[in-house]
C-alpha cells in the first residue's frame, strides 16, 4: 500500500477521534500519537486538513486536549436544530439560541477572556440569573410600555425572555421543560455531551467547567458566524 494511502487512513482516524468529542489523547495512545504527528509532520497536517475539508469540516485546533473541528454551514456534521429540540416555534428557537449566547457570554465576559487559556465556570442558576438581569436592565431602559398588539413579531427578545418563567413547580418536583431554567440546563448538558463542558457538582442547579474546546468553538466559529449573520441582518432594533 502506498504511503499516501496510509497517511490518508491515519488522517481520517484523527478526524474520527475529533467526532468522538469526549475522548482525549491522554485516554487513547493511538489518538495521542496522531496528535503528536500532526504537530511534528507538516505534510501529515496537510492531509488531515484536506480529509476534514472533504467532509465539510475545518480543523480549528489540535493540541493536548485533542482535535477541535468545525462543521461548514450545511455540513452533515453540523447540529440540526430539529435534532437539538424538535418542533420549536420561532420564539423557542430564539430563546434556545439566546441561552447559548448567554452561556458563552457568562463564561467569557470580555473579548480578552475569549483569548485567554484558563478554565472558566458556569452554573444553571448563574446563567439563568445573568440572562434575566440583562433582560431586566433593558426593561428599565425601555420602560414598562406594552408591545404593539398589532405587530407581535416586533416584540423584542428581552420581553420574550422576561415573559418566560424561570422555573415552575409541576407538582412532582421537576421544573417545566419550557422554563428558562430547564432550557439552560438542557443547553449545558448538550455542551457537556459534546465535550465542551464538564460537570463538576450539583451546586446552583448544576455547575460546569468550560473547557478549552468550548472556548475555541465559541471564538473561532460560533461568535464569528453569529456576528456575521447579525451584521447582515442590520441592527435596526
Amino acid at each position: 500500500m502506498s504511503a499516501a494511502a496510509l497517511d490518508a487512513g491515519a488522517a481520517a482516524q484523527l478526524v474520527g477521534f475529533g467526532l468522538t468529542p469526549r475522548l482525549r489523547p491522554a485516554g487513547d495512545p493511538a489518538y495521542a500519537e496522531l496528535v503528536e504527528r500532526f504537530a511534528a509532520d507538516a505534510a501529515f497536517a496537510d492531509v488531515v486538513g484536506y480529509v476534514a475539508g472533504g467532509l465539510g469540516l475545518a480543523v480549528l485546533d489540535v493540541g493536548a486536549s485533542g482535535i477541535v473541528l468545525a462543521p461548514a454551514p450545511g455540513s452533515p456534521f453540523a447540529q440540526r436544530l430539529s435534532d437539538y429540540r424538535a418542533n420549536l416555534s420561532v420564539n423557542d428557537r430564539l430563546l434556545h439560541g439566546l441561552i447559548h449566547v448567554g452561556i458563552a457570554a457568562y463564561c467569557y465576559p470580555t473579548a480578552a477572556s475569549l483569548a485567554d487559556s484558563d478554565v472558566r465556570v458556569c452554573s444553571v442558576a448563574g446563567v439563568e440569573r445573568f440572562l434575566r438581569d440583562a433582560a431586566a436592565r433593558l426593561r428599565e431602559q425601555h420602560g414598562e410600555c406594552d408591545p404593539d398588539a398589532d405587530a407581535p413579531e416586533l416584540e423584542q427578545a428581552w420581553r420574550l425572555y422576561l415573559r418566560r418563567q424561570a422555573a415552575r413547580d409541576t407538582g412532582d418536583g421537576r421544573v417545566g421543560v419550557s422554563t428558562t431554567t430547564a432550557m439552560v440546563r438542557f443547553a449545558l448538558e448538550r455542551l457537556a455531551e459534546q465535550g465542551m463542558l464538564s460537570r463538576t457538582s450539583d451546586a446552583e442547579g448544576g455547575t460546569y467547567r468550560a473547557l478549552h474546546r468550548y472556548r475555541v468553538e465559541v471564538r473561532e466559529l460560533a461568535a464569528t458566524r453569529a456576528y456575521g449573520v447579525l451584521a447582515a441582518a442590520g441592527t435596526g432594533g
Binding site: L19, Y106, A226
Partner: protein, 485 residues
C-alpha cells in the same frame, strides 16, 4: 528643566505590590457575612497556604487540583479550630479558593485602582491581575496554576522582577553559605526554586500559546528576545547552581568534620539544601529542553496554521456585540443569529445512523405522554411544513422549483407536472406533489394555488385528485412569511 516626579520609581512598584494583596484582605474581611462562626479562621494565612500548595506542585506531574488544595486547607482549618461544626472546614477551604480564583466575578482578572504619581500628573490607574487560575492538563484533568503575581505575593519579593529576584536570591544564598548560615540558606534556596518555577511557567505559556494560535504571539520580536534571554539566563543559572552544589557539599563535609553541638541539625539542613538545588537544576534542564524545541515548534505551528481557517481580525465581545444587540432585536430578526450561534457552539456532531434493530425497538415503545404543554407559548409564527427539509437534497429542491417555475395563470394538471419531474428523479416528483398539496391547503402560504375539479390522479406512486395548479398574478397583498420561499 524636566519637572521631578513626586515619587521615586520604586514607590509605584511597592504600591502595586501592596494593592495585589487586597483580594486576600477582602476575603478575610468577609468573615462576618458568612453563615456560622468564622472568627477563628485566619483566611489571609489560608490564602497564602493555598498559593503555597499550588506552587509546590507546579511543574511536577500536572499540578495540584482544586480538590487537592481544598483538602490541604481543610486540614489546616481543623488543626486551628478542632471540634468545629461538620463541613465547616470544607466550606472555609472552598471560600478561600473561590476568592483566589475570583469566582465572584466569573474568574475575570481582579481590577483594582490605585494612585499613580510617577507621571507628570497624578492619575488613578487600574491594576489588572490574577492570583490563581485553573488550566487543563494534557490528561484532561483540570489543575491550578499560580500566576507570577501570586508567586511574588507568596515569596514576598514585592519589589523585584523575576530574573533579578532569582539572581538576588542566589547571591544571598551564596553569601549565607560562606558565613555558615545554613538555616537562612534553606529559606533562600526555597525562594530560588520558586523563581525557577515562575520562570518556567512564563516560557511555557508562550510556547503553549504558540502551539494554539500563532497570531496571539509576537514571534517577530518579543518572543525571540524572550527565548534569547531565557537561554542566557539558564546558562548562568546552571553554572551558578553547579557552583552552589559544590560549595554545599564542602559545607556538609565541614559540618561533619567540626562535630560541634547542633551539627546534626545543620547537616540535615545542608542535605535538604542539596536536594532543593538539585531540584532547581532539574527544572532548569527541563526548561532548557523545551527552549531547544521552541524554534522547531514555531516552524511547525507556522506550517500548520497557514492552513487554518482565515485569520480572524478581531475577537467578538460576546456581551456587548452579541448578547445585548440580540436582546434588543425583534424575535424574528434575532432568531437567525441566535440559532447560528447555537449550532456553532455545539461544534461537529457525528450523525447518528439508525440501526434497524434500534428502530424496531423504538417503534414498539409505548407512546410517551408529552411532558408538558406550555400554554403560554402559543404563537405559531411559522407554520412548519410536513416535509423534513433535510430529507431532500438541495439539488432536488432546485429541480422541483424548475419544474414549477413555468406555471403561470393558465392552470396546469398535477399529472403533467409529475411527468416533468420524473424526468429528473422520484424525489423531485415527490417534492412537486407535496408542493401542490401545500398549495391546495386553504392556508397555503406560497404563491401557487391548487384547485380540485374532481379528476382523479392516475399515478403509480401518488393517489388523490389530479389538481389544477396555477400561479395567479399577485394582488397588492402584504407579503406572507412564506414557508416555501
Amino acid at each position: 528643566m524636566e519637572p521631578r516626579p513626586l515619587v521615586e520609581e520604586s514607590f509605584t512598584r511597592r504600591v502595586k505590590a501592596l494593592t495585589r494583596t487586597l483580594p486576600v484582605h477582602e476575603l478575610d474581611a468577609s468573615k462576618g457575612q458568612r453563615e456560622g462562626d468564622w472568627t477563628r479562621d485566619d483566611l489571609r494565612a489560608l490564602a497564602l497556604a493555598a498559593v503555597d500548595a499550588v506552587i509546590d506542585e507546579m511543574g511536577l506531574a500536572y499540578g495540584a487540583t482544586a480538590a487537592d488544595v481544598r483538602g490541604r486547607l481543610a486540614t489546616l482549618v481543623r488543626a486551628a479550630a478542632p471540634g468545629g461544626p461538620p463541613g465547616h472546614a470544607e466550606q472555609v477551604a472552598a471560600a478561600v479558593l473561590d476568592a483566589l480564583l475570583n469566582d465572584r466575578e466569573r474568574r475575570e482578572a481582579f481590577s483594582i485602582s490605585y494612585s499613580d504619581w510617577s507621571g507628570p500628573q497624578h492619575r488613578r490607574a487600574s491594576l489588572v491581575f490574577k492570583l490563581l487560575e485553573e488550566v487543563e492538563a494534557p490528561d484532561g484533568t483540570v489543575v491550578l496554576r499560580a500566576t507570577d503575581e501570586a508567586v511574588n505575593l507568596f515569596v514576598g519579593a514585592l519589589d523585584r522582577d523575576v530574573e533579578d529576584a532569582q539572581a538576588a536570591a542566589e547571591a544571598v544564598l551564596e553569601s549565607q553559605l560562606r558565613r555558615g548560615r545554613i538555616d537562612q540558606a534553606v529559606a533562600s534556596a526555597r525562594e530560588a526554586r520558586l523563581r525557577s518555577v515562575q520562570f518556567a511557567a512564563r516560557i511555557n505559556r508562550v510556547l503553549e500559546a504558540t502551539r494554539r494560535d500563532l497570531r496571539q504571539v509576537d514571534w517577530g520580536e518579543n518572543v525571540p528576545r524572550l527565548l534569547d534571554d531565557a537561554f542566557t539566563h539558564l546558562r548562568t543559572r546552571l553554572d551558578v547552581e553547579r557552583a552552589l552544589l559544590a560549595t554545599l557539599r564542602d559545607t556538609l563535609d565541614e559540618v561533619a568534620d567540626a562535630g560541634e553541638a547542633g551539627s546534626a541539625e545543620g547537616a540535615a539542613q545542608a542535605a535538604e539544601l542539596v536536594a532543593l538545588i538539585t531540584d532547581c537544576q532539574s527544572r532548569h534542564l527541563e526548561l532548557h529542553e523545551r527552549l531547544v524545541g521552541a524554534r522547531s515548534d514555531f516552524l511547525a505551528a507556522q506550517d500548520r496554521q497557514r492552513f487554518a481557517p482565515a485569520a480572524q481580525v478581531r475577537v467578538v465581545d460576546l456581551s456587548e456585540e452579541l448578547l445585548k444587540p440580540l436582546l434588543r432585536l425583534p424575535a424574528a430578526t434575532a432568531e437567525p443569529p441566535a440559532t447560528t450561534f447555537l449550532v456553532g457552539a455545539l461544534g461537529a456532531i457525528a450523525p447518528r445512523l439508525t440501526r434497524l434493530t434500534e428502530l424496531v425497538d423504538d417503534l414498539l415503545q409505548p407512546r410517551r405522554v408529552a411532558e408538558e404543554i406550555d400554554a403560554r407559548d402559543d404563537a405559531p409564527d411559522l407554520v412548519a411544513l410536513d416535509v423534513d427539509p433535510w430529507r431532500f437534497a438541495p439539488h432536488a429542491w432546485v429541480a422541483a422549483l424548475d419544474v414549477l417555475d413555468p406555471v403561470g395563470e393558465e392552470p396546469v394538471r398535477l399529472s403533467d407536472l409529475l411527468a416533468d419531474a420524473r424526468r429528473v428523479s422520484e424525489d423531485v416528483a415527490e417534492l412537486v406533489a407535496l408542493t401542490a398539496l401545500h398549495a391546495f391547503a386553504p392556508e397555503g402560504a406560497g404563491d401557487l394555488v391548487a384547485t380540485d375539479d374532481g379528476a382523479a390522479l392516475e399515478d403509480e406512486v401518488f393517489a388523490g385528485a389530479d389538481l389544477w395548479v396555477t400561479r395567479p398574478t399577485p394582488l397588492a397583498a402584504p407579503a406572507t412569511t412564506g414557508a416555501l420561499a
